[in-house]
């Protein structure tokens, strides 16, 4: 039962994907989606890491929008760099960033967001301890850069709260 409760969000997500795939939220599609989701999750149970977070839809949306916005700006910046590479734009380096208290899921979210956002690319990531190595293009101040990443970590943690943390709260 515990397992089912933990899996519930994922059942929802999968069912939603199923309904989207089929186009219309008919009863048949929803029921079908539920059935297939349960089947998939029953056959291949989720790793606990995924089920151990409570997710906050609004915070997630904010996070997503932030990333999407960064993506657009990042793309434009890189486009400019590609079309007109100057030494300043090409200044680059690999920066080590510690993410204190980040769970693997958070680390992944942050690392992925980094890779999507302007001129940054996660080269290495470890989750225990949570450390990222990020390649940055147009790198000017490493410490400022580190701060921007920790900001990203905060936004991600807002979207996905680890269950243990929630219990403490």
């Amino acid at each position: 039962m515990m397992r089912l409760r933990r899996m519930a969000p994922w059942v929802l997500v999968l069912t939603a994907v199923w309904v989207l795939l089929n186009g219309e939220p008919t009863v048949a599609n929803v029921l079908g989606g539920l059935a297939v989701s349960l089947l998939v999750l029953a056959a291949f149970p989720l790793a606990p890491a995924l089920a151990s977070h409570r997710f906050h839809p609004w915070a997630l949306l904010r996070f997503a929008l932030f990333v999407a916005g960064s993506l657009v700006t990042s793309s434009l910046e890189v486009a400019v760099t590609a079309l007109a590479p100057t030494p300043a734009r090409l200044r680059a380096g690999i920066v080590r960033i510690e993410l204190p208290g980040a769970t693997p899921l958070i680390t992944t979210l942050v690392a992925n967001a980094i890779t999507l956002t302007p001129g940054t690319l996660t080269v290495a990531a470890t989750s225990d301890p949570a450390v990222l190595h990020v390649h940055a293009l147009g790198l000017i101040d490493p410490d400022e850069f580190r701060d921007s990443i920790r900001d990203l970590q905060r936004r991600a943690t807002a979207a996905f709260t680890p269950r243990a943390e929630e219990a403490i709260a």
Binding site: V36, A49, P104, T107
Partner: protein, 946 residues
């Protein structure tokens, strides 16, 4: 008559099977049953046959080819049957005494079995009234003769002699087969006596006749094949006496006797017969004079006599034929007798070397006397049968006009002189004491028993009786010769008065004796420089050598060369067809649009670049690009299913490629090239051009597509789907798909099996004392022993994304699989997508994770999928419908509404499960990291370390 022949074969089989368990006497006794019974039966038939009755019987075997067991007991057949069974019985009796207790039972059983089998075959041969019956028994005698010559197979000489006899007579047999096929085809009948219906003016018929003659002269050991017969003396004496003097070697004579009356008028027949037979007489005679082994002397003598018989039977005049019949009987009696006598002497003294034999006459007086009788018959002294027969022969030759008859007469005279000489030499050699005593004389050590002597006595007696009662015998033999040639009445007489033949006989005997005396005084006949045997061996070795050279040439064992040959054949085939006039239809230079052209150009460029690159991994990437380009072209061609599948397969293939290539060095090594590059490029370009041309020709040949229209029409109403391609795959041509997934299933099994084999090597290593001692403790599964990811270090990001994406991908795979009936996709694409989900997990965590991810072993997946797919088909059969004849069911479900159920969907689910299992299997097995590198790597490391 079948019964008689068959009883021989049955008894032979019995002797082969259980003979070795019988007492020695029992074996011989059992063996005797058949010939004795047959002899009795034939003896009973004598009077009726003499009265002109002809018994015949026919048992069809292969009606479609007119092959039957067709026997006819005419005079000649009866005569030969009596000879075969009579002498057979006598020799069997003799062999009871001949084979001592030191001969292994097993060999004795083989002898008895082979002997009786031969007797049966020979009986069949002489009774044959049909070309195929004749041929069947002809070949049977070849085989049994082979077995009997090689009776003492532990000796190299016996094996070589058997091989020689087999191949020479085998050659003749095949000639005979061809000849008989041609003759019977031309004559429109397979009856041996009606072959004359063939139009012998036709070259083909003459060739057929020549081929048949080839069969005859090989079997009867005529020049240039005479050498096998002396070689065959490696067989024990009873065999020599029976097969290689009295019966089998007469088969050629019999055949010639049957053919000559029908074809003697063919222009080359008589010259050929006379030249071959005459040469054989002389060669055999001269060779006989050279021998010191009495048995070999006899063998060469037999060759010579066979030449005489061939001439007499072959020349095709009634009188000579009649004389031939008489001589045939005479020869059978005296030659068998002589062989048996030599055997007795051999048995008694331990040698057959006439230089060593000493004092035999005094110790074995009766044997010497009988030997004198049969030798005299061979020489042609009155009042013996040999004399009578030879007189008849000379008489016939003298009487008949014709140039070749004269030549024949000369040859016969010459041969007879030699015969006299070697006969005298034989008798005096064996029984005389010579002028100077041998260095190690051999004398009689033990006396021959009754079973040895009696048969000889019977033969000698018959020889005498035949001479004394020449008249009545001649009348009866006349019936036999009439069976060959109606005009050949023949008459024998002991005293025909003072006429030319008699003088010839006297002259021959005088000259022969003189020759013997002259040779005794000189150092004998010099040994031959040209030996047929040597020629045979050289030919045999030459054939072997040539075969090796040729085989090394056409079968060089090199894969690239093989591939090149195949493609050359393809080019030649298409080129040949083009020469034959294939037309290019109206091609469409811009068909498919510009986009397609551009993509095609890119794909082509990438393919060429792939060929050019010398780095494997780059080439693999390029192959992937070509595959993607194919997918784009499929999209442009209106084939979404294909594009989807192509993309998925390309992705998985890339992964599998990388799994294997990760072990291999980046660049290609440079193994020796098998051909210059220009040639290889030339072949490749030729293939490309040929295929392009053919594609243009075939692709424009048709404008309609009736099948496609019908399929499209019937897809929705009858197939219950909208995706025509998918309905074809799971319904119209569902059994194709069943086959296809079976291929996939078994390929996955094959991959697993190869890996399993490699693991076994590793297990071997585990107990290898030189191996790493720590590894001995490893579990049986090297997979489980390796916790590290397979490729690359662990990545938290990848790991997390994989965890999240995995269920989504699986969901999508189910969607694609289920929607396939109406949209691009289907079980196969779905299964591949699911497989890719696992590929991802595999790449993220390596196979240990994959192992945890799947609940059942891969072969279970594959088995279940296959079971589901084939079960769908079988279910419809159980329901009485056609295989895979599914239905479309409509089910009303509350809330959900109407659900369409197509049995094909169940089939597609089976496909899904199987494909997933196959991908998993390939992945887990090829992805498995061995706990340690294979043996060759470690060896290299060890060598490097020391």
């Amino acid at each position: 008559m079948f019964l008689l022949v068959a009883s021989h074969l049955l008894i032979a089989a019995a002797l082969f099977a259980v003979g070795a368990h019988l007492p020695r006497r029992g074996m011989i006794g059992l063996a005797l049953v058949a010939p004795v019974a047959a002899l009795g039966w034939f003896a009973v038939q004598v009077s009726s046959v003499l009265d002109g009755a002809e018994l015949s019987s026919r048992l069809s075997w292969v009606g479609g080819l007119d092959v039957s067991f067709s026997f006819r007991l005419d005079g000649f057949a009866l005569l030969m049957a009596l000879v075969v069974t009579g002498i057979g019985a006598l020799v069997l009796v003799y062999s009871d005494g001949y084979f001592g207790p030191d001969v292994p039972r097993e060999r004795l059983a083989r002898f008895a079995g082979g002997f009786v089998a031969f007797a049966g075959a020979m009986l069949g041969l002489v009774l044959a009234d049909d070309v195929w019956t004749l041929f069947i028994f002809w070949e049977a005698t070849t085989v049994t003769s082979f077995i009997l010559i090689g009776l003492d197979d532990e000796k190299a000489a016996a094996r070589a002699a058997a091989r020689q006899a087999l191949l020479i007579t085998g050659l003749g047999g095949l000639g005979l087969l061809g000849g008989l096929a041609i003759l019977s085809n031309a004559a429109g009948t397979t009856a041996l006596s009606d072959l004359a219906a063939a139009d012998d003016a036709r070259v083909v018929v003459q060739v057929g006749l020549a081929l048949a003659l080839l069969g005859a002269i090989t079997k009867s050991a005529q020049v240039p094949f005479q050498f096998w017969l002396p070689g065959a003396m490696a067989a024990p004496t009873p065999v020599s006496a029976y097969l290689h003097s009295a019966t089998m070697v007469k088969a050629g004579v019999i055949l010639v006797g049957r053919l000559a009356p029908q074809f003697a008028e063919v222009s080359w027949w008589r010259p050929a017969i006379v030249l071959i037979g005459g040469a054989t007489m002389v060669v055999g005679g001269v060779n006989a004079l050279r021998q010191h082994d009495a048995k070999l002397l006899l063998a060469h003598g037999t060759v010579s006599q066979l030449g005489l018989l061939i001439v007499l039977f072959g020349i095709g005049h009634p009188e000579t034929t009649a004389a031939g019949v008489a001589l045939l009987v005479a020869h059978a009696l005296f030659k068998a007798g002589l062989f048996l006598i030599v055997g007795i002497v051999d048995h008694a003294t331990g040698t057959r070397d006439i230089r060593r034999l000493h004092g035999v006459r005094s110790q074995l007086p009766w044997v010497a006397a009988m030997a004198a009788i049969v030798t005299a018959s061979m020489v042609g002294l009155p009042p013996l049968l040999g004399f009578v027969a030879k007189e008849a022969a000379l008489d016939a030759l003298v009487e008949e006009a014709g140039a070749w008859t004269v030549v024949a007469l000369v040859a016969v005279v010459l041969g007879s002189v030699l015969t006299t000489a070697y006969s005298v030499r034989l008798w005096f050699g064996v029984f005389g004491d010579g002028r100077q005593p041998a260095e190690d004389p051999a004398t009689v050590r033990h006396r021959p028993g009754a079973s040895l002597v009696t048969p000889v006595a019977v033969l000698a007696g018959l020889t005498v009786a035949g001479g004394l009662f020449a008249g009545p015998l001649g009348d009866r033999l006349g019936v036999a010769s009439e069976a060959l040639d109606e005009a050949a009445h023949g008459h024998l007489t002991l005293w025909a008065g003072l006429h030319l033949p008699l003088f010839l006989s006297i002259g021959i005997i005088a000259a022969g004796t003189g020759l013997y005396l002259a040779l005794e005084r000189s150092s004998g006949v010099p040994t031959a420089r040209l030996s047929g045997e040597g020629a045979f061996l050289r030919t045999y070795d030459g054939v072997q050598d040539g075969a090796r050279r040729l085989t090394a040439l056409v079968q060089n064992g090199s894969l690239p060369a093989y591939v090149a040959v195949i493609f050359c054949v393809v080019v030649a085939a298409i080129g040949g067809a083009a020469v034959h006039g294939a037309e290019l239809g109206p091609a469409d230079p811009t068909g498919g649009g510009v986009l397609q052209g551009v993509v095609a150009a890119m794909a082509a460029a990438m393919a060429v670049a792939m060929v050019a690159t010398r780095r494997r991994f780059v080439a693999v990437l390029m192959l992937g690009v070509v595959g993607y380009a194919m997918a784009v072209i499929y999209i442009l061609q209106g084939a979404p299913d294909l594009a989807l599948t192509q993309l998925l397969v390309e992705t998985i293939t890339l992964v599998v490629f990388l799994l294997v290539l990760r072990h291999l060095p980046e660049g290609y090594s440079a193994p020796p090239e098998w051909a210059p590059k220009a040639l290889r490029v030339g072949i490749a370009v030729a293939v490309g051009l040929a295929v392009t041309g053919f594609a243009l020709a075939a692709g424009t040949a048709r404008t309609e597509r009736p099948v496609a229209e019908e399929i499209i029409e019937r897809t929705e109403p009858e197939g219950g789907g909208q995706n025509v391609v998918n309905v074809i795959l799971v319904d119209f041509r569902g059994i194709d798909t069943l086959g296809e997934i079976t291929v996939l299933a078994i390929a996955a099994a094959g991959v697993a099996n190869l890996v399993r084999a490699a693991r076994r090597d590793l297990d071997d290593d585990a107990i290898d004392p030189l191996g790493d001692p720590e590894s001995v403790g490893d579990g049986p599964d090297p997979l489980a022993a390796n916790p590290a990811p397979v490729m690359g270090a662990h990545s938290a990001i990848f790991d997390q994304v994989t965890r999240a994406a995995f269920p989504v991908i699986l969901l999508v795979s189910v969607y694609v699989a289920l929607r396939g009936h109406n949209a691009p996709g289907g079980g196969f694409a779905g299964g591949l997508i699911a497989g890719i989900a696992f590929v991802m997990r595999f790449l993220a965590g390596g196979s240990p994770r994959l192992r945890r991810a799947r609940p059942v072993p891969t072969s279970g997946f594959i088995g279940c999928g296959l079971l589901l797919a084939v079960g769908t088909g079988l279910a419809s059969v159980l329901g009485g419908a056609e295989f895979l004849d599914g239905g479309i069911g409509h089910l009303e479900v509350p809330i959900i509404g109407e659900v369409e159920l197509v049995t094909a969907t169940v089939f597609d689910i089976g496909v899904y499960v199987l494909v997933l299992g196959a991908v998993l299997s390939v992945l887990t097995h090829l992805g498995a990291e061995a706990a340690r590198p294979p043996r060759w790597v470690r060896r290299r490391v060890e060598v490097g370390a020391t």
